[in-house]
Each structure stands twice: as C-alpha cells, then as structure tokens.
C-alpha cells in the first residue's frame, strides 16, 4: 500500500528531540504524545501548563471592507459585530443546516483572521473564497505556525517572556504581541477547558518561541492524545466526531453561538433547518454520558433505552484523567436527553449501564 505524502511540521525536530511518538493526522506527522505520556501531559496541563503544536490547523486572513458581511452568508455567528481584537467561535454551514467546519473568527482591525480544522481546510478555503465572490480576498497563511499554551500558568509564563498584554486580555480576545523581538498574534482561547492562549508565529521563528516557552519549569510539551482527553472532559466538540455535515448547531447544543438578530434575519446558509430546530426543538441532542464501571464507551458505541431500543450513538469517549472515570459524548433522541436518564451502552457485545449527564465533565476555567 502506498503511503500518502505526509507534511512535516516546522517543529518536527523539536518534537522528536523530546521523545515524541509521531502519528499521521489530517495529512501531517503530528506528536501524539511525548515521553511523559498522555495521562501525565493531561494532568500537567490542568495544574500548570501544556504547550501544544497545532500548526496543522488552517490559518487565513480575509481582506476587504465587506469581509465580515460576506462571511456571514455562510457563518451564523455575529461577525460584523466583532470589535477589533475580539474573537468568536462559529461554524461554516452547508445548505442542509449541517456543519462544514467549526472555526474561530478574529477581527484584527484591518482584516479578519480565521482558524479552521486541518482535516477540513481543503473544503473550507475554497468554500470561503466562493462566498467572498471576488469582493474580498482570502490569504491562506502557509508560512505561519500555531502554538497553544494551555493551563493556569499560561498567563504567567507569557508575562515573563515579555507579552505584557497577555495577562490583561479577556477570554476570546486577540492582540499583536511579541516574544523577545518576534511578533506573535496572540489570542486568549484554546480547546482544553483551561485558561490559555494560541500564538500565531511565522514558521522561521516558531522554534525560538517554542524553546523559550518550554524553558519554563511550569511548561511541558503535550500532544494530540492529551488534547483529545482535555477537550472531551471540557465537553468541547471535535469536528468529524461530534460535529459533521448532517448535524445542526442546535442539535450539538451550540445554539448560543447564533445571536438573536441572526436568527431573526435568517440570512445564512442552512438557516431553514437551524430555525426549525430552534422553533420545534431538535430531533436529537448532544449529551454527556457516564458509563458505569471502568470500560470506556468509544466513538460508534450504540446507545439503548433501558427497554432495549436504539436511541443514539456515542461520538467521542474514553477515560477522563481529571474526572477519574470513563466519560463520553453522543447524540440521543431528544426525549431521552434529560439529565439522569438511564441508558444502556453496547460495548463489544455487552450491555453496560450508563447515565445521561451534563457537559462539561470537568469545570472550564476561562478568564473573563
């Protein structure tokens, strides 16, 4: 079998020097874990800080006076209302009211910045370019890396490296800062449920910045494995598992990203289905699940009522290191989505009892 070409990250050498186990992911060779291991990296991020290389993600700028208005045709969030230095989580929608991708949009003053999933950029970028219809331009940032510094010590670490803005920025805001004399696009956000930042850095300087950050005793490198357990505990969706082309943002419990004026105008792609889901209630809902016992309920496990009817499926699941037990997210028919509902999970042919629970599993610690 021939192998697909795999892109190496600019920090590939640094990862390997720190004992990384590299795995192919979305066309990139990515660190799954380092010598500390997934469990240790997860717990270290929750109590101090973890540095994640997420340079596989797609970064782009959108230039043009009408950029925000044009983007709103396919994004249901309030993009025109973003103040300078503000960031927002939203979706690229398809015509069926399903999700093409989830993304972060930032108002950088003279342009919009977007960050999309690595696995979706080959679809996202042409879709966005189409929506801009020649009236605004999409500039894909192939020459920028993205680092995520996550955890309660993140702001102190950046402050000591001279990012004086870091500590004062509220969650979901962005600023141009510098580490030493290297300019970085700094956003206070992340996907672990902890306070933290994402740093957009030119590829040629990313190694210098990464080395400065990990020279702090509080910081350990953390890989994709820990990123997945952290985001699952925080109840955050992973595109391709918990979100897809068929699932509406309302089913996913992410209706809060669509403000009232956008619901009223309904002027975004897929709004018919989204508005119907809001009005009538969605047919299925994303829920948290506690499987009883230690056996993890992973993606694809079918969910049954206590009476034995199939009512849904697990979309993400595993062991939650900070929760100390097996946790899962999935979709169930709305009438079975109430907290406390008893369910059965079919794990390798055995029925394991479980319970619908609220999300997140681990409290989020954002800085407002």
């Amino acid at each position: 079998m021939s192998k697909d070409p795999v892109n190496l990250l600019p920090l590939n050498e640094m990862h390997e020097a720190h004992g990384s186990k590299m795995v192919p992911f979305a066309g990139y060779s990515m660190p799954l874990q380092y010598s500390l291991g997934i469990l240790g990296e997860h717990l270290h991020t929750r109590c101090k800080a973890g540095l994640f290389d997420v340079s596989h993600m797609g970064q782009a700028w959108i230039h043009g006076d009408r950029a925000a208005a044009l983007l709103e045709a396919i994004v249901p969030g309030d993009i025109q209302g973003l103040r300078e230095g503000q960031s927002r989580y939203s979706f690229l929608m398809n015509g069926f009211g399903g999700i093409t991708d989830d993304l972060i949009v930032t108002n950088w003053g003279d342009k919009l910045g977007i960050v999309v999933n690595a696995s979706r950029k080959h679809i996202d970028f042409p879709t966005i370019a189409d929506a801009l219809a020649g009236e605004a331009t999409l500039e894909v940032l192939e020459d920028h890396s993205l680092l995520a510094l996550q955890g309660p010590y993140a702001s102190i670490v950046l402050d000591r490296l001279g990012c004086s803005e870091a500590d004062r920025m509220p969650f979901m805001s962005s600023a141009i800062s510098a580490v030493g004399n290297i300019p970085v696009g700094l956003s206070r956000c992340g996907y672990t449920g902890e306070d933290g930042y994402e740093l957009s850095i030119p590829n040629r300087s990313v190694a210098t910045v990464a080395e400065s950050i990990i020279s702090s005793d509080a910081v350990k490198l953390a890989g994709l494995g820990a990123r997945d357990t952290l985001r699952l505990e925080a109840g955050l969706c992973l595109y391709g598992k918990d979100l897809d082309e068929y699932t509406s943002p309302i089913e996913a419990g992410l209706g809060w990203t669509i403000p009232r004026h956008r619901r009223e105008s309904g002027d975004f792609l897929g709004s018919e289905r989204v508005l119907k889901d809001i009005l009538l209630g969605p047919p299925k809902k994303r829920v948290g699940i506690f499987p009883l016992g230690r056996s993890p309920a992973r993606e694809g496990v079918e969910i049954y009522t206590e009476g034995g009817d199939v009512v849904g499926k697990v979309t993400s699941g595993g062991y939650g290191p900070s929760v100390g037990q097996s946790i899962a997210m999935g979709y169930v028919a709305s009438e079975h989505s109430d907290e406390g509902t008893g369910i059965l999970l079919s794990i390798r042919g055995k029925m394991v009892e479980g319970k619908v629970t609220k999300i997140p599993f681990h409290p989020r610690h954002y800085y407002f």
Partner: protein, 125 residues
C-alpha cells in the same frame, strides 16, 4: 521456567502444565497509559489466537489474543482496580491470567526472548 512470546506481543511463562499470560513490555510501551482491562473468567476455555482480553489505554482499545489453548484457572484481580500495574511491570506483576495448557503442540509457534527481540527489530524497519 522460561518466557515465550507470541507475534501479537503476549508473553507466556510455563511451569509444568500451568501457563501465566501477559503482554510484553514492548506492547505496554506502544499502548501507553492503560486505564482498563477486561479479563476472561476463571473456567473459560480458550483457544490459541482467541480474543479473550481487551485493554483500553487512553489512546485506544486493543484485543489481547490467547498465546495458547487451555482453561483459565486464575485471573490477576489487581488489574481491575489498578490497571497501571501493566505499565509499571508488564512482564511480572502485570500478568493477566493463568491457564491449564491443553495443547502443548501449539507452543512451538512461540518465540524465546532472543527471537522476540529480533522480531521487534525487524518490525521497526
């Protein structure tokens, strides 16, 4: 008492007609932090190659195959409450179960330590 390994990275220590089974240190390293093990039950009759245990690490679930045929006579109950013993001591304290070996002929397919080392090195290329 000598240790034998299977191509699927289980080990077997034979003492008379009793075999003790676990996963190799190499397998433990590959799996990463182990959080759950599903063991067979005492009295289960297993055939060589049967998927009779499941290991869940923080990464993924994997099946553990039986390295030989026999009847399970004891399981390592410590693994139920503390599966990380496997990460700490895969080839000693992290044993999975003991069985009464029913088919000694099938043991000829297993490798000794040296052959297993060679097998691992070949797999890396």
């Amino acid at each position: 008492m000598s240790i034998k390994y299977s191509k699927d990275h289980e080990w077997l220590v034979i003492d008379g007609n009793i075999g003790t089974v676990g996963i190799s240190n190499h397998a433990q390293e590959e799996l990463g932090d182990i959080v759950f093990v599903e063991l067979p039950q005492v009295g289960d009759i297993v055939g060589q190659g049967d998927e009779i245990c499941v290991i869940e690490s923080v990464k993924a679930a994997s099946e553990v195959l039986a390295p030989c045929s026999g009847r399970v006579i004891e399981i390592n109950e410590v693994l139920d409450s503390n599966p990380q013993v496997i990460n700490q001591s895969a080839e000693e304290e992290g044993w999975f179960y003991r069985l009464e070996i029913s088919d000694f002929a099938s043991l000829s397919e297993l490798m000794d330590s040296e052959a297993y080392e060679t097998f691992l090195l070949a797999g890396e290329e």
